[in-house]
């Protein structure tokens, strides 16, 4: 970094005005006896983006807070941060090279779709059972492991769809059995604090599954072969393929954006399954029943839906989605029993950012986290440092969300289920 003073100076300025804004705005709204629920967010974002210039009018007028008043300052803060970075480090690849930025953004979006898909499972479980499943990463890992064994070790000739199918079915059954055996006491009021029980028991499941797989498979990294090869395409012509150029493992758009095969197939598959899932949730009776239970458990029971069955279905389905994400990504990354930890954390970040229990929020959150990670890894000058910080980017997003807007982007303020509100 050429002028670190600019960057850190602006950052300190933004943070201090953000803190001042969030605290003082809340105080002022409280004194005037107004709604303080989103004052922290507005105050912090307005303070971070404009400093006293924006805060003073806000404090004097104290208008009723709308969604626009939250969105624009938030975007402006991101903009100020980016400008400060560009000024501080004018020779950074992120600042000078447009094609690098385009490549990072498109890769960020693609990986973000996969992240969002995985988080979808978590949000489904949460919205119906009210449990944050800490075993989500382990289901992801098991999905990948099963796919690897089926497609690469046991039946190398068979279509990868078969392996993915087996992974889905077995994790679905595993999820259902676990729910029946260990989560049922939560619903009957036998347990004093069901939310904490849910956290601890899934935590125990994660621990058990991880070491079980390590004991059976061993701790050496494995890698599945590529599911399918791209056909060779040159557009507009083979002499001048500036539009699309493909090789077996890679796709290049406009001579600048390069996307690897496994990630693209994974993202496309995720979108297809997502559409199927939306169809299931909105058009079939069972899907509608699931959504009904997530909105109001008692009312759904009166309408003839068995909430206990829906609990089982939701946990099994949510775990299967995580396994499917793992099954798609086992061809992209090397696989270990510990591989689930970071994606699990990422899913927590995404569901909190999108709003616990919100399906569109999970997808948008996934894309945002994908972009933040792409920016973080691409723009930090020291590559090794950037790699070590990868788990932290999402966590910073998580902590900011929890501090400023715990309901997330699309969160319902009072979601039902066995859990309470925030």
């Amino acid at each position: 970094m050429e002028f670190p003073v600019i960057f850190w100076g602006v950052l300190v300025w933004m943070i201090s005005w953000g803190v001042i804004g969030s605290i003082v705005t809340r105080r002022i709204y409280l004194r005037k006896d107004l709604d303080t629920s989103s004052t922290g967010m507005v105050g912090a974002m307005l303070g971070a983006s404009t400093g006293p210039v924006g805060l003073v009018p806000l404090w004097m007028k104290t208008p009723q807070i709308t969604n626009k008043m939250m969105a624009f300052p938030a975007l402006a803060s991101v903009g100020v941060f980016m400008i400060a970075f560009a000024l501080a480090d004018p020779n950074n690849l992120c600042v000078v090279s447009g094609s690098f930025v385009a490549s990072q953004i498109s890769n960020g979006i693609i990986i973000g779709i996969i992240y969002g898909f995985m988080a979808l499972g978590l949000t489904l479980i949460f919205s119906i059972l009210g449990v944050v499943s800490f075993a989500h990463g382990e289901f992801y890992m098991i999905g990948g492991m099963i796919t690897y064994f089926v497609t690469t070790v046991w039946f190398p000739e068979i279509t990868p769809l078969f392996g993915i199918g087996i992974a889905c079915v077995s994790t679905f059954i595993l999820g259902a059995v676990f729910e029946r055996l260990f989560l049922t006491p939560m619903y009957t009021g036998k347990i004093g604090r069901p939310v904490e029980y849910g956290i601890l028991i899934t935590f125990g499941l994660a621990f058990t599954l991880q070491y079980f797989v390590q004991a059976v498979v061993g701790a050496n990294p494995v890698k599945a072969k590529r599911f399918f090869d791209f056909p060779r395409v040159r557009l507009p012509s083979s002499a001048d393929p500036w539009l699309i150029k493909t090789s077996r493992g890679n796709l290049e758009l406009f001579d600048t954006i390069s996307i690897s095969n496994p990630r693209l197939t994974a993202a496309v598959m995720c979108i297809l399954v997502f559409i199927a899932l939306m169809y299931f949730l909105h058009k079939t009776w069972t899907g509608k029943a699931l959504r009904a239970v997530s909105q109001d458990r008692e009312a759904a029971a009166i309408a003839g839906i068995n909430p206990d069955k829906m609990n089982m279905l939701a946990f099994a389905l949510g775990s299967m989605i995580a396994a499917l994400a793992g099954a798609m990504l086992v061809q992209a990354f090397s696989w270990l029993p510990q591989v689930g930890a970071i994606p699990a954390m990422r899913s927590f970040v995404i569901v909190v950012l999108g709003g616990l229990g919100s399906i569109p929020g999970a997808f948008l959150g996934g894309v945002i986290v994908g972009l933040v990670e792409a920016a973080g890894t691409g723009c930090i000058p020291n590559a090794q440092q950037a790699a070590s910080y990868i788990p932290a980017y999402g966590m910073i997003v998580l902590i900011l969300t929890l501090l400023l807007r715990p309901t997330g982007l699309f969160g319902r303020k009072y979601s039902s289920g066995t859990h309470g509100n925030v």
């Binding site: 939310v195 125990g204 390590q214 004991a215 440092q385 070590s388 788990p391 932290a392 998580l398 715990p406």
Partner: protein, 409 residues
């Protein structure tokens, strides 16, 4: 008259006497190994019992407890690694005059640096050629600093998590621990990243106790240091649990809003319970760091957190003494289960399978005896003659259970 109500206290006393006498009585070949297991057991006992105060008494299910432990350990390690006292100025380092000696702060150099041995103090030592005696910082000061730093971060996190409950709190604290770990692994020039940072040993030059000399590698002095730290933590926890503090944090657990409405300063007690328990975790971390001699970011991974959670839950999360005993016992059990064996042609690698057993034990305990395995035993003695716990159950579904009277005698 001896009453069976006093049985748990009696057992506690017997355990304390046992652990005090054990190092003098035991004389097997594996003496250092067994001692090491117990020291680690005490370390986990401090973590588990302080976590049980946080989670079981106050209802704050924090997954960042190991983060505070890491803060203590790294504060001690950085302090021990970067700060020295010298009677002469080095003219190479950052230094401050403190009375008639100088406080020397080493320049940070990373693990990848080719001039690994060439920090400023080494340069100065070459110039002095052995004429000046540089002394490292005392160990107790490192432990105190680590503890205070843990308390400071506990205060910070306690304030930040004030509005958060249950799942949100768990995720926030998990995020805190993960960021901490990422920062430690990334800032290689200061913390040396995954390679870990070395500390001087707890008793660098050995120690003479009651006329007997113990060498640096002798396990007995660190055993008693850790044991007394555990007893100190348990004493503090017992004091807190019996005072108004214990009552108030339990009110916080049952219903924060109701507690606030009844005049409990929930802000103060929620922050306070975080500060107290993080200080214990950090103190244990700093002491353990001096004993092991090296700290690395791997000490803060979520696996370690799982161990602490599992120990506390299996022992009994709503009783810190049960959590501590559970931790010592489970640590011992985990070590004993290390031996791999062979059934026919299949070699069972117990180093991994023991953890699977441990996880299954955790899940079964949670499912069938959510109070832990030790608390029901304690309650059999102490509460067998009184009505069942009279605290309000959430949601009111189980009113019948709550008012049921058990075993009148």
């Amino acid at each position: 008259m001896m009453n069976k109500v006093h049985a748990p206290q009696l057992i506690g006393l017997v355990l304390v006497i046992f652990f005090t006498l054990f190092p003098f009585v035991y004389s097997g070949n594996d003496y250092p190994y067994i001692m090491h297991i117990f020291i680690t057991g005490f370390f986990y006992a401090i973590l588990a019992s302080s976590w049980s105060m946080l989670a079981g008494y106050a209802g704050q299910f924090s997954f960042g407890h190991l983060g505070f432990m890491g803060i203590g350990a790294y504060t001690a390690a950085l302090f021990s690694h970067y700060f020295y006292l010298s009677p002469e100025p080095t003219n190479f380092c950052t230094e401050f005059s403190l009375g008639d000696s100088y406080l020397i702060i080493l320049n940070p150099i990373g693990v990848t640096s080719s001039t690994l041995a060439q920090d400023c103090l080494k340069q100065a030592m070459e110039v002095w050629n052995g004429s000046v005696q540089v002394s490292p910082m005392p160990v107790w000061l490192g432990i105190v600093l680590g503890t205070l730093m843990g308390g400071f971060f506990g205060l910070l996190v306690g304030y930040l998590v004030l509005p958060l409950r249950a799942a949100y709190l768990a995720l926030f604290t998990l995020g805190f621990a993960e960021i901490l770990r990422a920062v430690i692994s990334a800032e290689i020039s200061i913390t040396r990243g995954q390679a870990g940072i070395e500390l001087r040993h707890m008793f660098e030059n050995g120690i003479t106790l009651f006329g007997r000399y113990y060498a640096q590698t002798d396990k007995l002095p660190p055993y008693f240091v850790m044991f007394f730290l555990l007893l100190l933590c348990l004493a503090i926890l017992a004091l807190l649990a019996r005072s108004k503090f214990g009552l108030f944090v339990r009110a916080l657990r049952e219903d924060q809003d109701a507690a606030a409405a009844l005049g409990v300063n929930t802000t103060r007690y929620k922050v306070l319970v975080f500060v107290v328990t993080s200080m214990m975790a950090a103190g244990a971390g700093a002491t353990m760091a001096y004993y092991i001699g090296i700290v690395s970011p791997n000490n803060i991974v979520i696996l370690q957190m799982s161990l602490v959670v599992a120990m506390a839950v299996i022992g009994g999360v709503e009783n810190f003494a049960a959590a501590a005993i559970g931790a010592i016992f489970l640590e011992f059990m985990l070590e004993m289960l290390r031996n791999s064996f062979q059934i026919g042609p299949v070699v069972v690698d117990m180093t991994t399978w023991r953890l699977v057993i441990f996880g299954i034990l955790l899940m079964l305990t949670l499912r069938f005896s959510p109070k832990g395995l030790l608390i029901p035993a304690i309650e059999y003695f102490t509460r067998g003659h009184v009505a069942k716990e009279t605290v309000a159950k959430r949601g009111g579904e189980s009113m019948d259970d709550a008012s049921g009277v058990e075993g009148e005698n």
